[in-house]
């Protein structure tokens, strides 16, 4: 049984890769808006909302206040019921949504080197209850995030806000304590909530709104049958494109095999996020009336060494381990050659991706030489030692993830050949991603994660020296990597708003990370998603956390 445990999206995506045939990635390129009607031009959308789409999810959406903690499946509700000031498109550009334009230094929306922001808002937007949307709502939402006692999902970027001023019903400005370029991307994933409803609630953490949200998005909240489905209804007064569907049903099917069966029988129209189990891939691509392909993902599979460990603290050890790793064998033998190996922390599709990083190649001689030069001598048992410290460590990952367990075994064999003794110490998901992870109690991890801020390439919360929780930092630098040059670059990247200049900074940063190896990158993810033929508008988007991000513009061909 393939139960998708709530909240561990990255563990099961990996399963999706199992059994994939060659050509899957090529198919992915045509897996978009054009692909649904077998080459024929798409018919125009209906004049009035028509039809129902049933979206199959293997996790249940449960968090409906978009400013509170939630995972990918919850965002399906957020992006359908709410709007943000602007949205991130598949190509990485930002498109205005509630705002009239995306502020920039060129249009004067961002001034004083990033310290002063002004945003002009649309004047034709209404909340689902008919109340007009104004700058008050934006001010309220941003202030709510920073309100002590409110369980805000994240305050990254928002914490720098000050002096939020309403300059008119549809214009707002604020100042930042420091220039922070990734804030543009953060706002693309910050949904605006209604002041006239949530502001009147005694405690916004437990307001009735949180279970019957009112937004400005293409769909209104309909009904929820806990443990089963959520029905969203077309918002006929929507300010943007669509909606063209009368209803959208988010159907929760906990077992991934059963979800695939429902996709086959036509009970669900598409399977996203956890996707289709990979052992069904070959069968799924041949299903009549269904389009199944690999969708791009920004998550990376990596080895995360804990640099607090004496052996890993040494760069030569990390480099030697990376050189001895047979990445291609892992991808070919365990993952059927589908995911592409990567050398960077940034996804291939990012505008900041550095494609010129040296490609890792298995080289045992080089690995041995690196360790010899660094003074790691082989002991009688074959395991290298230096100053009484053996080159011995554990790699931990989620229990029961068979592909990762096979991966661990391959690495164990590879590293044994250079005198590094690797042990396996796996734990259940709720255990491994608890204190063990966030308090850096691991020796090393085999993990799938991201290194960006929202859709921005800024990885400071994962790599900066002041982001190490066990050293009092506030980020997610669980590797405990400290590098002054990288810190300076990341700071510079956050303060620069010119994309070309930022790109140069992140290209350099990727070179440093590739050289220093605070993470050993293996590959970029490729989950399999399926859509019923005739559904037009589905567009995978690596810059969103889920691919129902534009459900308002979906419609049926007939």
């Amino acid at each position: 049984m393939t139960i998708n445990r709530a909240g561990w999206p990255f563990d099961l995506n990996r399963r999706d890769l199992f059994g994939l045939g060659a050509g899957a990635l090529a198919a992915a390129t045509s897996f978009g808006a054009q692909a649904q009607t077998s080459g024929k031009p798409n018919p125009p959308p209906p004049a009035k909302p028509k039809g129902v789409v049933v979206v199959g999810l293997s996790q249940e959406p449960v968090a409906f206040n978009p400013l509170m903690p939630g995972v990918e499946v919850d965002e399906v509700v957020w992006t359908s019921v709410f709007n943000s000031l602007w949205v991130a498109e598949p190509d990485g550009s930002l498109k205005p949504d509630l705002a009239v334009e995306v502020p920039s230094e060129a249009n004067g929306g961002i001034a004083e080197g990033g310290l002063a922001w002004t945003v002009k808002l649309r004047d034709d937007v209404k909340w689902h209850d008919g109340t007009p949307f104004t700058a008050e709502d934006v001010k309220y939402s941003l202030e709510l995030i920073n309100t002590p006692g409110f369980k805000a999902r994240t305050r990254v970027g928002h914490a720098f806000l000050k002096d939020i001023v309403i300059k008119g019903p549809h214009e707002i400005s604020w100042r930042m304590e420091k220039a922070y370029a990734p804030y543009l991307a953060m706002l693309a994933n910050t949904h605006i909530v209604p002041k006239h409803i949530l502001g009147k609630a005694g405690d916004p953490n437990t307001a009735p709104f949180n279970n019957a949200p009112v937004g400005t998005g293409p769909f209104r909240w309909g009904t929820r049958q806990p443990g089963d489905n959520i029905t969203l209804v077309a918002n006929q007064n929507y300010h943007g494109d669509g909606p063209y569907l009368e209803k959208a049903v988010l159907k929760y099917v906990p077992d991934m095999t059963a979800l695939y069966a429902q996709f086959r029988t036509g009970q669900v129209d598409l399977v996203i996020i956890s996707g289709i189990p990979a052992n069904f891939y070959q069968e799924a691509i041949k299903l009549p009336g269904r389009k199944v392909a690999v969708a791009p993902s920004g998550n990376l599979e990596i080895i995360m060494p804990n640099l607090g460990n004496k052996a890993f603290a040494e760069k030569a050890v990390r480099q030697a381990l990376y050189a001895a790793m047979d990445k291609q064998a892992i991808i070919d033998a365990i993952y059927y050659g589908v995911p592409k190996p990567t050398e960077s922390f940034a996804p291939r599709e990012s505008w900041a991706f550095n494609s010129n990083l040296p490609a890792q190649k298995r080289d045992l001689d080089r690995a041995n030489k690196l360790l010899d030069d660094a003074g790691w001598k082989r002991s009688g048992s074959g395991t290298r030692m230096k100053n009484g410290v053996p080159l011995e460590f554990a790699v931990s990952t989620t229990t029961g993830n068979q592909l990762r367990e096979q991966c661990q075994q391959l690495m164990q064999q590879d590293w044994q050949q250079i005198g590094a003794k690797m042990t396996i110490n796996n734990m259940p998901a709720a255990v491994i991603w608890g204190e063990f992870y966030v308090r850096s109690k691991f020796e090393s991890l085999l993990v799938g994660t991201t290194f960006r801020t929202g859709v921005d390439p800024d990885p400071a919360s994962r790599f900066a020296s002041d982001a190490i929780p066990v050293k009092g930092g506030s980020g997610g630098n669980y590797m405990q990597w400290e590098n002054a040059e990288a810190d300076a670059l990341m700071k510079q990247g956050q303060e620069t708003f010119d994309q070309e200049k930022r790109k140069a900074i992140y290209l350099k940063l990727q070179e440093i990370v590739r050289e220093e190896l605070p993470i050993l990158p293996i590959f970029q993810y490729a989950p399999i998603e399926g859509v019923k033929e005739g559904l037009i508008g589905y567009r995978p988007n690596i810059n969103q956390r889920q691919n129902a991000w534009n459900m308002g513009s979906w419609y049926w061909a007939k």
Binding site: A6, F10, P226
Partner: protein, 317 residues
């Protein structure tokens, strides 16, 4: 009788307190917590996670958390779910209907068929029917439920297209017929195992009775075989079944974890599994206490009914 009831209620309350302590301790001492899932994704920073842990009160000492939970429970507040912020009682009651529908149908089906197989097996002991029933029961008990569930889906939904591949109803069509159609698959799967269990119970209970002296006496008196069976044997053989039924009551409401998962049935079993995965402490504790009360209530009712059915037991108290 009243003294017995008071004594039993007192014991039950003490048991509930012990159950809650053990449950609370195990749940909270298990590594990980409700925020682990957010940490894995990398979107929330450590400061965000620490802040929310503080707001949820997860940083306080365990005895303090338990005392607060107990105090709230005693005042009728079951707490709020960490997952969807709804009150725990609301979360539980919103899943009860689905579970009750599934469990009641499958249990009734299993009891009727199981009792019939058991009685027939006992009367025709060592016959071909009895042998087949015995082997069938062993097979049914040995089949993993999730596998059988997937086979039912594969054969009847994907292959033959007779049954829906899961769900409680088609969204937009809540008609009784539609619901019954969806009920068939999970009902077959659940009833299979239960039928075997009920059949075995019934058979052994019936065998105990048919060898008693009073049955032989009845036969010697020339009472017709049918009357012996229905009036003498069956009535006595059903006595132990009352206890088993009483103990089965909690199962009716706590749901079928695996079947509900495979058939996307929005019941209590599924809720329990989801809540544990999420470490949704208030809901897990809520379900635990709910189940504990049901078990105690079920056995109490069984005891009382047993007394009603068999005056000898009632008199001995």
């Amino acid at each position: 009788m009243i003294g017995f009831l008071i004594r039993r209620l007192g014991q039950s309350l003490l048991l509930l307190l012990i159950v809650s302590m053990i449950g609370f301790a195990i749940l909270h001492l298990a590594p990980g917590g409700p925020l682990s899932q957010f940490a894995a994704g990398g979107e929330m920073t450590q400061a965000d996670l620490d802040r929310i842990a503080e707001q949820l009160g997860l940083n306080r000492p365990l005895p303090v958390q338990y005392a607060e939970w107990l105090w709230r429970m005693l005042s009728g507040d079951w707490g709020r779910s960490y997952r969807d912020q709804q009150s725990v009682l609301h979360v539980i009651t919103s899943h009860l209907g689905a579970t009750l529908e599934l469990m009641l149908t499958s249990t009734l089906l299993a009891m009727v068929i199981g009792a019939w197989i058991g009685i027939l097996g006992a009367i025709k002991r060592y016959s071909l029917f009895d042998a087949l029933a015995t082997v069938g029961a062993m097979v049914a008990l040995s089949i993993p439920t999730f596998w059988f569930g997937l086979v039912v889906i594969y054969v009847f939904s994907v292959g033959l297209g007779w049954l829906p591949a899961g769900n409680r109803y088609t969204v937009g069509d809540g008609s009784l017929l539609n619901q019954l159609h969806h009920l068939i698959g999970p009902c077959i799967v659940l009833a299979l195992v239960s039928t075997a269990v009920w059949g075995r119970y019934m058979r052994s209970s019936m065998l105990d009775v048919v060898n008693q002296d009073y049955i032989r006496t009845a036969r010697a008196k020339g009472v017709p075989e049918r009357q012996i069976l229905l009036r003498h044997a069956l009535r006595n053989a059903l006595l132990p079944m009352i206890t088993i039924t009483g103990l089965h009551v909690p199962t009716l409401l706590s749901g079928a974890l695996v079947t509900e998962t495979v058939f996307a049935w929005p019941g209590m079993g599924r809720l329990f599994l989801d809540s544990i995965s999420y470490r949704d402490y208030p809901v897990v504790m809520g379900i635990l206490m709910f189940s504990a009360v049901l078990v105690l209530l079920g056995s109490l009712i069984a005891d009382l009914l047993y007394g009603v059915a068999d005056p000898r037991i009632s008199g001995s108290r």
